[in-house]
Symmetry: C2
Subunit: 224 residues, 2 copies
Protein backbone atom coordinates (compact mmCIF):
# COMPACT_ATOMS: atom_id res chain seq x y z
CA UNK A 1 0.00 0.00 0.00
CA UNK A 2 1.28 3.45 -0.92
CA UNK A 3 -0.27 6.63 0.46
CA UNK A 4 -0.42 10.13 -0.94
CA UNK A 5 -0.63 11.44 -4.48
CA UNK A 6 3.13 11.77 -4.90
CA UNK A 7 4.02 8.29 -3.71
CA UNK A 8 1.20 6.66 -5.73
CA UNK A 9 2.18 8.53 -8.88
CA UNK A 10 5.83 7.43 -8.51
CA UNK A 11 4.79 3.77 -8.39
CA UNK A 12 2.61 4.21 -11.46
CA UNK A 13 5.42 5.98 -13.31
CA UNK A 14 7.81 3.16 -12.41
CA UNK A 15 5.49 0.60 -14.00
CA UNK A 16 4.26 -1.19 -10.89
CA UNK A 17 1.02 -3.10 -11.30
CA UNK A 18 -1.66 -1.12 -9.47
CA UNK A 19 -4.58 -3.07 -8.03
CA UNK A 20 -6.80 -0.12 -7.08
CA UNK A 21 -6.36 3.57 -6.37
CA UNK A 22 -8.70 4.65 -3.56
CA UNK A 23 -9.42 8.36 -3.28
CA UNK A 24 -11.80 10.81 -1.66
CA UNK A 25 -13.86 13.35 -3.61
CA UNK A 26 -11.32 15.99 -2.56
CA UNK A 27 -8.56 14.27 -4.56
CA UNK A 28 -10.64 13.80 -7.69
CA UNK A 29 -9.16 16.61 -9.79
CA UNK A 30 -5.54 15.51 -9.29
CA UNK A 31 -6.22 11.97 -10.44
CA UNK A 32 -6.75 12.98 -14.05
CA UNK A 33 -2.97 13.18 -14.32
CA UNK A 34 -2.60 9.50 -13.48
CA UNK A 35 -2.86 6.69 -16.01
CA UNK A 36 -6.35 5.99 -17.31
CA UNK A 37 -5.83 2.24 -17.30
CA UNK A 38 -6.06 2.11 -13.54
CA UNK A 39 -8.95 0.94 -11.40
CA UNK A 40 -10.16 3.93 -9.34
CA UNK A 41 -12.55 3.76 -6.43
CA UNK A 42 -14.01 6.69 -4.55
CA UNK A 43 -14.17 6.33 -0.78
CA UNK A 44 -15.47 8.50 2.07
CA UNK A 45 -13.28 10.30 4.59
CA UNK A 46 -14.39 7.71 7.20
CA UNK A 47 -13.31 4.84 4.96
CA UNK A 48 -10.00 6.58 4.30
CA UNK A 49 -9.40 6.89 8.06
CA UNK A 50 -9.89 3.14 8.46
CA UNK A 51 -7.69 2.13 5.52
CA UNK A 52 -4.83 4.51 6.14
CA UNK A 53 -1.85 3.71 8.36
CA UNK A 54 -1.16 7.43 8.84
CA UNK A 55 -2.22 9.68 11.69
CA UNK A 56 -3.12 12.31 9.11
CA UNK A 57 -4.29 10.34 6.06
CA UNK A 58 -3.78 11.79 2.62
CA UNK A 59 -6.62 11.81 0.09
CA UNK A 60 -5.21 9.06 -2.14
CA UNK A 61 -3.92 5.58 -1.47
CA UNK A 62 -3.16 2.66 -3.73
CA UNK A 63 -3.05 -1.08 -3.28
CA UNK A 64 -0.15 -2.26 -5.43
CA UNK A 65 0.75 -5.76 -6.59
CA UNK A 66 3.88 -6.92 -4.77
CA UNK A 67 6.51 -7.45 -7.46
CA UNK A 68 9.05 -10.26 -7.28
CA UNK A 69 12.29 -9.11 -5.69
CA UNK A 70 14.71 -8.47 -8.56
CA UNK A 71 17.53 -10.94 -9.23
CA UNK A 72 20.95 -9.51 -8.46
CA UNK A 73 23.28 -9.29 -11.43
CA UNK A 74 26.80 -8.75 -10.05
CA UNK A 75 27.86 -6.80 -13.14
CA UNK A 76 25.23 -4.14 -12.28
CA UNK A 77 27.26 -3.25 -9.18
CA UNK A 78 30.52 -2.49 -11.02
CA UNK A 79 31.92 1.07 -11.28
CA UNK A 80 29.49 2.45 -8.73
CA UNK A 81 28.63 2.37 -5.05
CA UNK A 82 25.82 0.36 -3.50
CA UNK A 83 24.53 -0.08 0.04
CA UNK A 84 24.46 -3.37 1.97
CA UNK A 85 22.27 -3.65 5.09
CA UNK A 86 22.89 -6.33 7.70
CA UNK A 87 19.75 -6.77 9.78
CA UNK A 88 18.11 -3.33 9.79
CA UNK A 89 14.91 -3.72 11.84
CA UNK A 90 13.22 -0.33 11.98
CA UNK A 91 10.95 0.42 9.00
CA UNK A 92 11.52 4.17 9.33
CA UNK A 93 15.27 3.63 9.11
CA UNK A 94 15.03 1.44 6.01
CA UNK A 95 12.64 3.89 4.35
CA UNK A 96 14.92 6.83 5.09
CA UNK A 97 17.94 4.91 3.78
CA UNK A 98 16.11 4.19 0.50
CA UNK A 99 15.10 7.85 0.13
CA UNK A 100 18.63 9.05 0.91
CA UNK A 101 20.22 6.55 -1.49
CA UNK A 102 17.89 7.82 -4.21
CA UNK A 103 18.97 11.43 -3.51
CA UNK A 104 22.63 10.47 -3.89
CA UNK A 105 22.14 8.38 -7.03
CA UNK A 106 22.72 5.01 -5.36
CA UNK A 107 20.35 2.60 -7.06
CA UNK A 108 21.04 -0.79 -5.49
CA UNK A 109 20.46 -1.85 -1.88
CA UNK A 110 21.33 -5.40 -0.82
CA UNK A 111 19.63 -6.55 2.39
CA UNK A 112 20.27 -9.54 4.63
CA UNK A 113 17.31 -11.91 4.69
CA UNK A 114 16.31 -10.71 8.16
CA UNK A 115 16.21 -7.00 7.25
CA UNK A 116 12.71 -5.49 7.57
CA UNK A 117 10.55 -5.96 4.45
CA UNK A 118 10.89 -2.97 2.11
CA UNK A 119 7.18 -3.27 1.24
CA UNK A 120 6.15 -2.82 4.87
CA UNK A 121 3.76 0.20 4.64
CA UNK A 122 5.87 2.19 7.12
CA UNK A 123 8.92 1.69 4.91
CA UNK A 124 6.96 2.68 1.80
CA UNK A 125 5.80 5.86 3.52
CA UNK A 126 9.28 6.85 4.71
CA UNK A 127 10.77 6.44 1.21
CA UNK A 128 8.52 9.26 -0.07
CA UNK A 129 8.25 7.62 -3.48
CA UNK A 130 11.90 6.62 -3.83
CA UNK A 131 11.09 2.93 -3.30
CA UNK A 132 9.70 2.85 -6.83
CA UNK A 133 13.11 3.75 -8.27
CA UNK A 134 15.58 1.75 -6.17
CA UNK A 135 16.41 -1.94 -6.73
CA UNK A 136 16.31 -3.85 -3.47
CA UNK A 137 17.60 -7.40 -3.03
CA UNK A 138 17.19 -9.81 -0.12
CA UNK A 139 19.84 -12.46 0.22
CA UNK A 140 22.25 -14.38 2.45
CA UNK A 141 25.05 -11.81 2.79
CA UNK A 142 27.59 -14.31 4.05
CA UNK A 143 27.20 -16.35 0.84
CA UNK A 144 26.89 -13.41 -1.56
CA UNK A 145 29.54 -10.91 -0.47
CA UNK A 146 32.67 -13.04 -1.11
CA UNK A 147 31.52 -13.63 -4.70
CA UNK A 148 31.16 -9.95 -5.65
CA UNK A 149 34.83 -8.97 -5.82
CA UNK A 150 34.15 -5.41 -4.72
CA UNK A 151 35.66 -3.37 -1.87
CA UNK A 152 33.47 -3.76 1.21
CA UNK A 153 33.52 -0.64 3.42
CA UNK A 154 32.16 -1.53 6.85
CA UNK A 155 30.75 1.17 9.15
CA UNK A 156 32.45 0.43 12.47
CA UNK A 157 33.18 2.30 15.70
CA UNK A 158 36.89 1.84 15.00
CA UNK A 159 38.43 2.24 11.58
CA UNK A 160 39.74 4.70 9.06
CA UNK A 161 38.37 8.23 9.32
CA UNK A 162 35.52 8.61 6.80
CA UNK A 163 36.66 12.13 5.92
CA UNK A 164 40.15 11.12 4.82
CA UNK A 165 39.51 7.56 3.58
CA UNK A 166 39.90 6.90 -0.13
CA UNK A 167 36.80 5.08 -1.38
CA UNK A 168 38.04 4.69 -4.93
CA UNK A 169 35.48 4.41 -7.69
CA UNK A 170 33.35 1.44 -6.70
CA UNK A 171 32.32 -0.60 -3.71
CA UNK A 172 29.76 -1.58 -1.13
CA UNK A 173 28.86 0.42 1.97
CA UNK A 174 27.98 -2.07 4.71
CA UNK A 175 25.78 -0.93 7.61
CA UNK A 176 24.81 -3.05 10.60
CA UNK A 177 21.78 -3.57 12.81
CA UNK A 178 20.53 -0.69 15.02
CA UNK A 179 21.55 -2.26 18.32
CA UNK A 180 24.22 -4.79 17.44
CA UNK A 181 26.01 -3.45 14.39
CA UNK A 182 27.47 -5.71 11.72
CA UNK A 183 27.20 -9.42 12.59
CA UNK A 184 30.41 -11.17 13.71
CA UNK A 185 30.27 -13.62 10.79
CA UNK A 186 30.06 -10.76 8.28
CA UNK A 187 32.82 -8.62 9.80
CA UNK A 188 35.72 -10.74 8.44
CA UNK A 189 34.49 -9.98 4.90
CA UNK A 190 35.08 -6.24 5.35
CA UNK A 191 37.87 -4.87 3.16
CA UNK A 192 38.20 -1.66 5.10
CA UNK A 193 36.59 -0.54 8.37
CA UNK A 194 35.48 3.09 8.26
CA UNK A 195 34.42 5.24 11.17
CA UNK A 196 32.61 8.55 11.52
CA UNK A 197 34.68 10.48 14.07
CA UNK A 198 32.83 11.41 17.23
CA UNK A 199 33.45 14.94 18.42
CA UNK A 200 30.77 15.04 21.13
CA UNK A 201 29.34 12.56 23.57
CA UNK A 202 26.52 10.54 21.96
CA UNK A 203 27.25 6.83 22.13
CA UNK A 204 26.22 6.14 18.54
CA UNK A 205 24.50 7.55 15.49
CA UNK A 206 21.16 6.42 14.08
CA UNK A 207 21.86 3.97 11.23
CA UNK A 208 20.02 6.00 8.60
CA UNK A 209 22.10 9.03 9.59
CA UNK A 210 25.33 7.03 9.38
CA UNK A 211 24.35 5.66 5.96
CA UNK A 212 23.64 9.17 4.72
CA UNK A 213 27.07 10.36 5.86
CA UNK A 214 28.70 7.57 3.84
CA UNK A 215 26.60 8.36 0.75
CA UNK A 216 27.48 12.04 1.15
CA UNK A 217 31.22 11.46 1.53
CA UNK A 218 31.31 9.35 -1.62
CA UNK A 219 29.39 12.04 -3.47
CA UNK A 220 31.55 14.88 -2.18
CA UNK A 221 34.61 13.64 -4.07
CA UNK A 222 32.83 14.56 -7.32
CA UNK A 223 32.74 18.23 -6.32
CA UNK A 224 36.40 18.73 -5.43
CA UNK B 1 9.29 10.06 30.82
CA UNK B 2 12.50 8.35 29.79
CA UNK B 3 12.69 4.64 28.98
CA UNK B 4 15.55 2.20 29.18
CA UNK B 5 18.50 1.94 31.55
CA UNK B 6 20.83 3.98 29.38
CA UNK B 7 18.48 6.90 28.84
CA UNK B 8 17.44 7.00 32.52
CA UNK B 9 21.05 6.91 33.70
CA UNK B 10 21.99 9.81 31.36
CA UNK B 11 19.25 11.99 32.87
CA UNK B 12 20.40 11.11 36.38
CA UNK B 13 24.03 11.85 35.47
CA UNK B 14 23.00 15.22 34.00
CA UNK B 15 21.39 16.24 37.29
CA UNK B 16 17.74 16.13 36.26
CA UNK B 17 15.26 15.84 39.13
CA UNK B 18 13.92 12.28 39.03
CA UNK B 19 10.40 11.73 40.34
CA UNK B 20 10.39 7.92 40.33
CA UNK B 21 12.28 5.14 38.60
CA UNK B 22 9.93 2.24 37.80
CA UNK B 23 11.54 -1.11 37.11
CA UNK B 24 10.74 -4.80 36.85
CA UNK B 25 12.44 -7.50 38.91
CA UNK B 26 14.58 -8.30 35.87
CA UNK B 27 16.23 -4.86 35.99
CA UNK B 28 16.95 -4.94 39.71
CA UNK B 29 20.67 -5.73 39.58
CA UNK B 30 21.53 -2.91 37.17
CA UNK B 31 19.85 -0.28 39.32
CA UNK B 32 22.47 -0.48 42.04
CA UNK B 33 24.69 1.60 39.77
CA UNK B 34 22.19 4.47 39.83
CA UNK B 35 22.08 7.12 42.55
CA UNK B 36 20.77 5.96 45.91
CA UNK B 37 18.83 9.17 46.54
CA UNK B 38 16.19 8.20 43.97
CA UNK B 39 12.72 6.90 44.57
CA UNK B 40 12.51 3.36 43.09
CA UNK B 41 9.34 1.39 42.59
CA UNK B 42 9.10 -2.19 41.42
CA UNK B 43 6.39 -2.95 38.86
CA UNK B 44 5.16 -6.07 37.09
CA UNK B 45 5.68 -6.81 33.37
CA UNK B 46 1.95 -6.09 32.86
CA UNK B 47 2.25 -2.67 34.50
CA UNK B 48 5.36 -1.93 32.41
CA UNK B 49 3.42 -2.75 29.23
CA UNK B 50 0.73 -0.23 30.22
CA UNK B 51 3.12 2.56 31.19
CA UNK B 52 5.54 2.23 28.29
CA UNK B 53 5.14 4.04 25.00
CA UNK B 54 7.32 1.44 23.26
CA UNK B 55 6.28 -1.64 21.32
CA UNK B 56 9.02 -3.55 23.10
CA UNK B 57 9.25 -1.94 26.54
CA UNK B 58 12.55 -1.91 28.35
CA UNK B 59 12.78 -2.96 31.99
CA UNK B 60 13.32 0.53 33.40
CA UNK B 61 11.50 3.81 32.97
CA UNK B 62 11.66 7.07 34.87
CA UNK B 63 9.27 9.92 35.41
CA UNK B 64 11.39 13.05 35.41
CA UNK B 65 10.56 16.57 36.56
CA UNK B 66 10.28 18.84 33.51
CA UNK B 67 13.01 21.45 33.90
CA UNK B 68 12.52 25.06 32.87
CA UNK B 69 13.78 25.67 29.34
CA UNK B 70 17.19 27.29 29.71
CA UNK B 71 17.60 31.02 29.03
CA UNK B 72 19.62 31.72 25.90
CA UNK B 73 22.81 33.67 26.50
CA UNK B 74 23.97 34.93 23.10
CA UNK B 75 27.63 34.80 24.19
CA UNK B 76 27.33 31.01 24.58
CA UNK B 77 26.86 30.73 20.80
CA UNK B 78 30.13 32.50 19.87
CA UNK B 79 33.07 30.64 18.25
CA UNK B 80 31.01 27.52 17.61
CA UNK B 81 28.19 26.17 15.53
CA UNK B 82 24.61 25.70 16.72
CA UNK B 83 21.45 24.39 15.08
CA UNK B 84 18.25 26.42 14.55
CA UNK B 85 14.99 24.59 13.77
CA UNK B 86 12.06 26.35 12.13
CA UNK B 87 8.89 24.36 12.75
CA UNK B 88 10.08 20.74 12.92
CA UNK B 89 6.95 18.66 13.59
CA UNK B 90 7.99 15.02 13.73
CA UNK B 91 9.21 13.85 17.17
CA UNK B 92 11.47 11.21 15.61
CA UNK B 93 13.16 13.87 13.51
CA UNK B 94 13.76 16.20 16.47
CA UNK B 95 15.06 13.32 18.59
CA UNK B 96 17.43 12.19 15.86
CA UNK B 97 18.66 15.76 15.34
CA UNK B 98 19.43 16.07 19.07
CA UNK B 99 21.31 12.74 19.07
CA UNK B 100 23.26 13.69 15.94
CA UNK B 101 24.15 17.15 17.29
CA UNK B 102 25.47 15.48 20.44
CA UNK B 103 27.66 13.16 18.34
CA UNK B 104 29.17 16.11 16.50
CA UNK B 105 29.72 18.21 19.62
CA UNK B 106 26.97 20.75 18.88
CA UNK B 107 25.48 21.65 22.25
CA UNK B 108 22.83 24.28 21.51
CA UNK B 109 19.61 23.87 19.52
CA UNK B 110 17.29 26.85 19.09
CA UNK B 111 13.72 25.96 18.13
CA UNK B 112 10.86 28.09 16.85
CA UNK B 113 7.95 28.17 19.30
CA UNK B 114 5.93 25.79 17.10
CA UNK B 115 8.62 23.10 16.91
CA UNK B 116 7.56 19.82 18.55
CA UNK B 117 8.21 19.70 22.32
CA UNK B 118 11.61 18.17 23.05
CA UNK B 119 10.16 16.47 26.14
CA UNK B 120 7.58 14.60 24.06
CA UNK B 121 8.30 10.93 25.00
CA UNK B 122 8.92 10.00 21.35
CA UNK B 123 11.56 12.72 21.11
CA UNK B 124 13.15 11.59 24.37
CA UNK B 125 13.32 8.02 23.07
CA UNK B 126 14.88 8.98 19.73
CA UNK B 127 17.62 11.03 21.42
CA UNK B 128 18.97 7.85 23.09
CA UNK B 129 20.08 9.81 26.14
CA UNK B 130 21.54 12.81 24.30
CA UNK B 131 18.65 15.05 25.37
CA UNK B 132 20.17 15.18 28.84
CA UNK B 133 23.32 16.83 27.47
CA UNK B 134 22.04 19.31 24.86
CA UNK B 135 20.67 22.78 25.66
CA UNK B 136 17.40 23.39 23.84
CA UNK B 137 15.69 26.77 23.59
CA UNK B 138 12.21 27.67 22.34
CA UNK B 139 11.77 31.19 21.05
CA UNK B 140 10.41 33.53 18.38
CA UNK B 141 13.08 33.08 15.69
CA UNK B 142 12.09 36.19 13.76
CA UNK B 143 12.75 38.32 16.84
CA UNK B 144 15.86 36.49 18.05
CA UNK B 145 17.94 35.82 14.94
CA UNK B 146 18.67 39.44 13.93
CA UNK B 147 20.06 40.13 17.42
CA UNK B 148 22.64 37.32 17.42
CA UNK B 149 25.15 38.74 14.94
CA UNK B 150 26.19 35.32 13.69
CA UNK B 151 26.30 33.91 10.14
CA UNK B 152 23.01 32.17 9.41
CA UNK B 153 23.43 29.24 6.98
CA UNK B 154 20.03 28.27 5.60
CA UNK B 155 19.42 24.79 4.16
CA UNK B 156 17.71 25.52 0.85
CA UNK B 157 17.08 23.69 -2.42
CA UNK B 158 19.10 26.39 -4.19
CA UNK B 159 22.31 27.83 -2.80
CA UNK B 160 26.01 27.32 -2.42
CA UNK B 161 27.21 23.72 -2.61
CA UNK B 162 27.63 22.40 0.95
CA UNK B 163 30.82 20.56 -0.03
CA UNK B 164 32.68 23.64 -1.22
CA UNK B 165 31.09 26.34 0.99
CA UNK B 166 33.28 28.00 3.59
CA UNK B 167 31.47 27.92 6.93
CA UNK B 168 34.14 29.84 8.81
CA UNK B 169 34.50 29.26 12.53
CA UNK B 170 31.05 30.06 13.93
CA UNK B 171 27.43 30.28 12.91
CA UNK B 172 23.93 28.91 12.95
CA UNK B 173 22.66 26.06 10.78
CA UNK B 174 19.01 26.78 9.97
CA UNK B 175 16.72 23.89 9.00
CA UNK B 176 13.06 24.23 7.97
CA UNK B 177 9.84 22.30 8.44
CA UNK B 178 9.48 18.81 6.91
CA UNK B 179 6.95 19.80 4.27
CA UNK B 180 7.38 23.52 3.83
CA UNK B 181 11.01 24.29 4.56
CA UNK B 182 12.12 27.55 6.12
CA UNK B 183 9.27 30.05 6.61
CA UNK B 184 9.13 32.98 4.16
CA UNK B 185 9.50 35.53 6.98
CA UNK B 186 12.68 33.82 8.22
CA UNK B 187 14.32 33.39 4.81
CA UNK B 188 15.41 37.06 4.46
CA UNK B 189 17.49 36.64 7.63
CA UNK B 190 19.70 33.98 5.99
CA UNK B 191 23.30 35.12 5.45
CA UNK B 192 24.08 32.31 3.03
CA UNK B 193 21.83 29.70 1.41
CA UNK B 194 23.46 26.28 1.30
CA UNK B 195 22.32 23.28 -0.68
CA UNK B 196 23.13 19.57 -0.60
CA UNK B 197 23.66 18.65 -4.26
CA UNK B 198 21.25 16.07 -5.59
CA UNK B 199 22.85 13.39 -7.74
CA UNK B 200 19.84 11.08 -7.99
CA UNK B 201 16.10 11.57 -8.23
CA UNK B 202 14.57 11.87 -4.75
CA UNK B 203 12.66 15.14 -4.42
CA UNK B 204 14.04 15.95 -1.00
CA UNK B 205 15.96 14.63 1.98
CA UNK B 206 14.54 13.92 5.43
CA UNK B 207 15.29 16.92 7.66
CA UNK B 208 17.25 14.93 10.24
CA UNK B 209 19.42 13.56 7.42
CA UNK B 210 19.99 17.04 6.01
CA UNK B 211 20.89 18.38 9.46
CA UNK B 212 23.38 15.56 9.95
CA UNK B 213 25.05 16.35 6.62
CA UNK B 214 25.53 19.96 7.74
CA UNK B 215 26.94 18.90 11.12
CA UNK B 216 29.26 16.48 9.34
CA UNK B 217 30.55 19.01 6.81
CA UNK B 218 31.38 21.49 9.57
CA UNK B 219 33.18 18.75 11.48
CA UNK B 220 35.07 17.48 8.44
CA UNK B 221 37.07 20.71 8.15
CA UNK B 222 38.82 19.77 11.41
CA UNK B 223 40.26 16.62 9.82
CA UNK B 224 41.80 18.10 6.69
Amino acid sequence: MAEGYKSVSEFIAAGYQIHTVYHTVAADAKLHNLSKKINFQEITEAELQKMSGLTTPQQVLAVIQLPEWPKLKPEDLKNKFSVVLDGIQDPGNLGTIIRTADWFGINHIICSDDTVDAYNPKVVQATMGSLARIKIYYTDLEALLPTLNLPLFGAMLDGKNIYTADFGSEGLILMGNEGNGIRPNIQPLITRSITIPRVGEAESLNVSIATALFCSEITRKRFK
